[in-house]
């Protein structure tokens, strides 16, 4: 099976976020593999081990994205592809990313593409379904189980807590939800091996794309932090007095009752 994983490098949102001049300060910030893409990498490896084939991890990013790709290789992916837009593009949105991915997949034999259901930074959740549509693939989002038997693919999909059992076939694109699996940590031998695994670097020119082909359809005009919340009040005194005070605050001050 030819299995592909779409991987995004994201800002670790557990870290403190600072904003300057309408953009996120990423100088010195910690970048990680988007957590939902870790589920995708893990699932890809498991499916490959069960059915044979190869796992290729693809990212649209910059030079620094190599780090996350190497981590995926260390987990067990076979090959990585970095589509580096640093030199060619200043701006982009989901449309841009998907146009680039579409061009990349144009001449590929694909059985399965796994993506994250959402990236924790920009969090639009658009990339997977958008790409599936352009490639003409069926897709299932937020999956929590994937079972491939011959021609039939059976999926459990999380729908706001309900579970849908879906039957479909390859080629297919899925987006991964928490609960699908437990991503492995890269092992030391895995990390050593990853250094020698193939990592192909492409630019949009290699995909026969110009800047105009991928011009974004949306634009971010400002980024800001929410207004500093007044420090919350931790109530004091006897628990029963705290409880009465809380109820009175909710009723009289916040007027939410």
């Amino acid at each position: 099976m030819n299995i592909y994983v779409l991987l995004k490098k994201t800002f670790d949102t557990e870290e403190k976020i600072s904003v300057a001049g309408g953009t996120i300060e990423d100088e010195g910030a910690e970048f990680i593999i988007n957590p939902y893409d870790e589920y995708a990498v893990e699932e890809a490896i498991t499916q490959r081990d069960a059915h044979g084939g190869e796992v290729t991890v693809v990212t649209v990013g910059d030079e620094d994205s190599e780090k996350q790709l190497r981590t995926a290789l260390a987990m067990g992916a076979d090959k990585a592809v970095l589509i580096n837009t640093e030199e060619d593009l200043d701006e982009g949105d989901s449309f841009t990313t998907v146009k680039i991915l579409e061009a990349y997949f144009e001449d590929k034999e694909v059985d399965l593409i796994l993506a994250g259901n959402v990236a924790i930074d920009e969090a639009s959740g658009q990339v997977g379904p958008r790409l599936a549509e352009l490639l003409g693939f069926p897709y299932v989002t937020t999956i929590t189980n994937l079972d491939i038997k011959d021609e039939t693919v059976t999926i459990e999909k999380d729908v706001e807590g309900d579970v849908e059992i879906i039957e479909t076939s390859l080629p297919l694109l899925v987006t991964c939800q928490q609960g699908l699996n437990e991503p492995r940590y890269p092992s030391l031998p895995g990390i050593m091996k990853a250094k020698k695994k193939p990592l192909e670097e492409l630019e949009i020119d290699d995909l026969d794309l110009d800047e105009e082909d991928v011009e974004a359809k949306t634009k971010t005009i400002d980024i800001y932090l929410p207004p500093e919340k007044e420090a919350g009040r931790v109530l004091e005194g006897e628990i029963s007095d705290q409880v009465s005070e809380l109820v009175s605050l909710l009723k009289n001050e916040k007027k939410v009752l």
Binding site: I120, Y224, G232, V234, V243, L257
Partner: protein
């Protein structure tokens, strides 16, 4: 009347989800003079739902009824709604950022080769240009986004944009459209319903959420009692769901439901970033936790440091007095 906006409604258990009405209001915020065309798809008669959309501000409604639309699939819904979009040629499309909205909107945007702004919580106007505000970085920051090219396609987070007042004197044209639906490649074989009927957490005004600190399924009982007193719903953290104290349908957070109630009471929840991503926009947050250092206190308006098993029964009594 100039521009036309399509509002794609969503039906659950035979009723329209409230976010459908909020989407109508959002379209009006984008352009007060626009013609609002409601869209409802499903199986069987959709007439009463169509009327409901009109009461909430739609000028007319197009419905598509087909046996293949009984349960949502991106292909079935996609084909029906694309047929409508092609006929109507709208200036914009609005729908809820729900499970269905998240699944369907990128497909439509891709097909239409347009931009899409997902998960907007507010709309501002800069002259005539609508500016959409959306949370990013797990809710730690916000961005303002505009469409620079093509139609205005937006999904809105439930419970953030107020619906218009329901007005049963309104009337409008209801058109039934026939659509041929080609083969669907993703077949829904079964739906295992976990969420109890009638409660839609994303629409609740009061939520009592329990975490691992609640310690057992039984431990959730007082939370249900409190919710009942307040006319609210019960939610949970991932920790509580993983420990099987309650069902995953109650999970709030990045991988669960995203909620914006007027009052959120977090009980025995530590306040992990993935949990906060689903509730930090709540209007008033109360935290009850025995650990004074718990992160949840950093975003709470009011906190009680104490044992939840002591605090909750007292709270129930106290709320009963004022309700």
């Amino acid at each position: 009347m100039s521009d036309k906006y399509i509002v794609i409604s969503e039906v659950r258990d035979g009723e329209l989800r409230h976010v459908s009405f909020e989407a109508i209001a959002a379209a009006k915020e984008i352009n007060a003079d626009a013609e609002i065309v409601g869209v409802v798809v499903g199986d069987g008669s959709l007439e009463s739902l169509a009327k409901e959309l009109i009461y909430y501000g739609a000028d007319r409604v197009i419905s598509v009824s087909h046996e293949k639309l009984k349960t949502y699939t991106s292909e079935g819904y996609g084909q029906s709604i694309m047929a409508i979009i092609n006929d109507e040629n709208p200036a914009g499309i609005i729908m809820g950022h729900t499970s269905i909205g998240k699944d369907l909107s990128p497909k439509l945007a891709s097909k239409l080769e347009t931009g899409l702004i997902s998960d907007a919580v507010a709309i501002e106007k800069d002259d005539d240009q609508p500016v959409f505000i959306r949370p990013i970085y797990s809710g730690k920051a916000f961005e303002k986004k505009i469409i620079t090219n093509g139609i205005t396609f937006v999904t809105i987070r439930p419970n953030n944009i107020s619906a218009l007042e329901k007005d049963e004197s309104r009337s409008g044209d209801i058109e039934t459209k026939n659509v041929d639906i080609a083969d669907i490649r993703t077949i829904v074989k079964d739906v295992v319903r976990k969420a109890s009927k009638g409660v839609d957490l994303s629409e609740a005004n009061v939520i009592i959420a329990g975490g691992r600190g609640v310690k057992s399924e039984d431990g959730f009982k007082p939370l249900y009692e409190l919710a009942e007193v307040l006319g609210g719903a019960v939610g949970a953290s991932r920790g509580a769901c993983d420990a099987e104290y309650c069902d995953y349908a109650l999970q709030i957070g990045q991988t669960g439901k995203v909620v914006t109630p007027d009052l959120y009471i977090a009980v025995g929840i530590s306040g992990a970033i993935q949990h906060l991503a689903g509730m930090s926009n709540s209007k008033v947050i109360v935290a009850i936790n025995k650990d004074p250092e718990a992160n949840i206190f950093n975003i709470a308006d009011y906190g009680i440091v104490g044992d939840l098993f002591e605090v909750i029964p007292l709270l129930i009594e106290e709320f009963k007095k004022v309700k």
